[in-house]
């Protein structure tokens, strides 16, 4: 079976316009979640991680004079353009492309001529911009999309359909999704606090990211980072409520470990989904306990980015790659006191320690779950 390496990445988020800028902010425990007053999204003040339009325009301006793109298109095009600029050897024309998004340009649904609201319009925009022969494929699988897109990219490389895959992820903080999560009474009145006793729901965020998956070990930078296991499993339980037994997540973790030929005690660190809703975090704690991972250091990055939907698991996997490269762990921002019924080892301060293997998990509406094993293998 061919091996699949995480060769490089970029993140475009409220915490910066490069992965390195994002990492600096994580090191400083700075959050992108702020008090937002923006009438186009919500009539009153709320907490969310919004990407500043002017900063985005400035960053976009260094790549293109064409301002006729939507905000999400600029974010995604910028992430890919930067990835290509960083890696002259990466040929986008020979690479497979998977775009992970839950709602795309959903803010355009309000407008009369709203063809941009079709998810496929993003694929066409990316195709046209980079003059690609084929239209990229879109994956829309709720909040696990970004992690599942990496898993699918890995499987396509292993099956020799491609030597290189570019995974692009992105979603907006829109009135559409915010109103929906408010209707579920799932939005926190304060910045979200994953796994904490005082958690009161999610904060939404927006971001885009791009990652290069390669079959060639020579494309690795500094250390060799490999995706050695992946699995998804459905809870078969409820379309919006997390499983009480964590069944699907438990099953995905076990399958991913099995593929990587590892057991749970080999995992040095878990970068969890941790949305900070009462039921989600509880479900994850149960699944991690069932998997023998209660003592493994764990964090959620939602306290930094908010929940960026289709981008979240991609961004969290990218950060995991850099945690492996730099041997560092980041505190789970917002956490004060354990607030789940099963013990888990939430990281409360940043630290430097040697880590070899990370478990990345995500769960979403529709009962879907994904687990990835990301390893430093050289």
């Amino acid at each position: 079976m061919r091996k699949v390496y995480l060769a490089d990445d970029t993140i475009i988020s409220p915490l910066g316009f490069s992965t390195e800028e994002n990492l600096q902010n994580l090191r400083n425990n700075s959050t992108g979640i702020k008090e937002v007053l923006d009438d186009s999204i919500w009539p009153s003040v709320f907490y969310g991680a919004l990407l500043d339009n002017d900063s985005l325009s400035d960053a976009w301006g260094s790549f293109s004079n064409d301002s006729d793109y939507t905000k999400l298109e600029k974010m995604m095009l910028l992430s890919v353009s930067k990835l290509l600029k960083q890696n002259p050897s990466l040929n986008i024309h020979k690479s497979g492309i998977i775009i992970s998004t839950t709602k795309g340009n959903i803010d355009k649904l309000r407008e009369k001529n709203n063809n941009k609201a079709y998810l496929g319009s993003i694929a066409v925009t990316i195709q046209d911009y980079f003059k690609l022969e084929k239209t990229p494929t879109i994956l829309s699988n709720a909040c696990i999309s970004g992690g599942l897109a990496l898993a699918i990219g890995k499987r396509m490389i292993q099956s020799a359909l491609f030597d290189d895959i570019i995974v692009i992820g992105g979603d907006l903080l829109s009135e559409f999704t915010l109103s929906g999560f408010f209707s579920f009474q799932a939005v926190s009145p304060k910045p979200c606090k994953p796994f904490c006793k005082n958690r009161t729901g999610i904060s939404l965020g927006e971001a885009a990211a791009a990652a290069w998956l390669s079959s060639d070990i020579k494309n690795s930078k500094r250390s060799v980072i490999e995706i050695t296991g992946d699995a998804t499993a459905n809870d078969a339980n409820h379309i919006s409520g997390p499983s009480r037994t964590g069944e699907g997540l438990y099953k995905s973790i076990n399958k991913a470990l099995k593929e990587a030929a590892l057991s749970s005690n080999h995992i040095d660190f878990i970068t969890a989904h941790g949305t900070a809703t009462p039921f989600n975090d509880e479900m994850e704690a149960i699944a991690f306990n069932r998997s023998g991972l209660k003592n493994t250091p764990i964090n959620s990055l939602k306290g930094y980015y908010g929940h960026t939907l289709g981008a979240s698991a991609l961004i969290e996997s990218i950060i995991a790659r850099h945690c492996l490269l730099n041997n560092e762990l980041f505190a789970s921002l917002g956490f004060e006191e354990l607030g789940v019924s099963q013990p888990i080892n939430v990281i409360t301060t940043n630290s430097n320690q040697t880590i070899h293997r990370v478990l990345k998990t995500a769960s979403g509406f529709g009962g879907c779950n994904v687990a990835l094993i990301i390893e430093k293998t050289g």
């Binding site: 079976m1 009539p43 839950t102 709602k103 795309g104 959903i106 649904l109 309000r110 609201a117 079709y118 998810l119 496929g120 694929a123 239209t135 494929t137 879109i138 994956l139 829309s140 699988n141 709720a142 599942l148 699918i152 499987r155 396509m156 292993q158 099956s159 020799a160 359909l161 009135e175 559409f176 109103s179 929906g180 999560f181 408010f182 209707s183 579920f184 699995a231 998804t232 499993a233 459905n234 809870d235 078969a236 339980n237 409820h238 379309i239 919006s240 069944e247 699907g248 099953k251 399958k255 979403g364 509406f365 529709g366 009962g367 879907c368």
Partner: protein, 204 residues
């Protein structure tokens, strides 16, 4: 990669007021005035008794009904039957309904019962619950049905042991225009799985 042989064991098409199983017309209803009535009539025709059906949005109902046809008379539905679905319009039909509830700030009434269906993969959640499938799910959005990509990806899942069988296909709904094609892929059957065969069955 093991080169096992796979088959298209069953397939279902729902199109133009007709339901086909393995290419044979099993139900026709060109009199229903709404898609809602059409789906309800198929439900009755199939003598289903599943109360969750009535809460589903129209896209889910179509995918659910096609999955029922495909799995009809299958004795054991394996827990590891993966779902690999695709369409063009994602969940736009229900997105528009949610948008309607937030269009006017003076009359603002977003509802969780609608919002939860603004994700296309919810169909696969519904089918997983119905059949107790704790399996691989993936929902792709493409301009047209991509038999090459879908059969490749489904074969990868079976070849790597990530799934024992796969229900794959196309479930699209946009402004009352619908097009549904689901196929059960497994090691049993008479129609060899190839992208040409999948394409032929979709187009027939």
């Amino acid at each position: 990669m093991s080169g096992k042989e796979y088959y298209i064991s069953n397939f279902c098409t729902i199109r133009n007021g007709c339901v086909f199983k393995n290419g044979k017309l099993i139900y026709k209803d060109i009199t229903s005035e709404s898609l809602k009535d059409f789906s309800k009539n198929i439900y009755k025709f199939m003598e289903l008794n599943y109360s969750k059906f009535h809460k589903m949005d129209e896209l889910c109902k179509l995918g659910f009904l096609a999955s029922e046809v495909v799995l009809q008379n299958e004795e054991n539905v394996d827990e590891d039957t993966a779902l690999v679905f695709s369409n063009r319009a994602s969940s736009l039909d229900t997105d528009r309904k949610h948008q309607h509830t937030i269009e006017d700030r003076e009359q603002f009434f977003p509802s969780p019962a609608i919002f939860v269906y603004t994700l296309p993969n919810i169909i696969m959640g519904e089918i997983s619950i119905r059949n107790n499938m704790k399996s691989e799910n993936a929902f792709f959005v493409t301009e047209t049905f991509q038999p090459h990509f879908i059969s490749n990806y489904s074969e990868i899942l079976m070849n790597t042991g990530k799934a024992s069988s796969v229900i794959c296909g196309w479930v699209d709904l946009d402004s009352n225009k619908y097009d549904v094609f689901l196929a059960l892929l497994s090691t049993k059957g008479i129609r060899r799985l190839t992208k040409e065969e999948l394409s032929k069955l979709y187009n027939q």
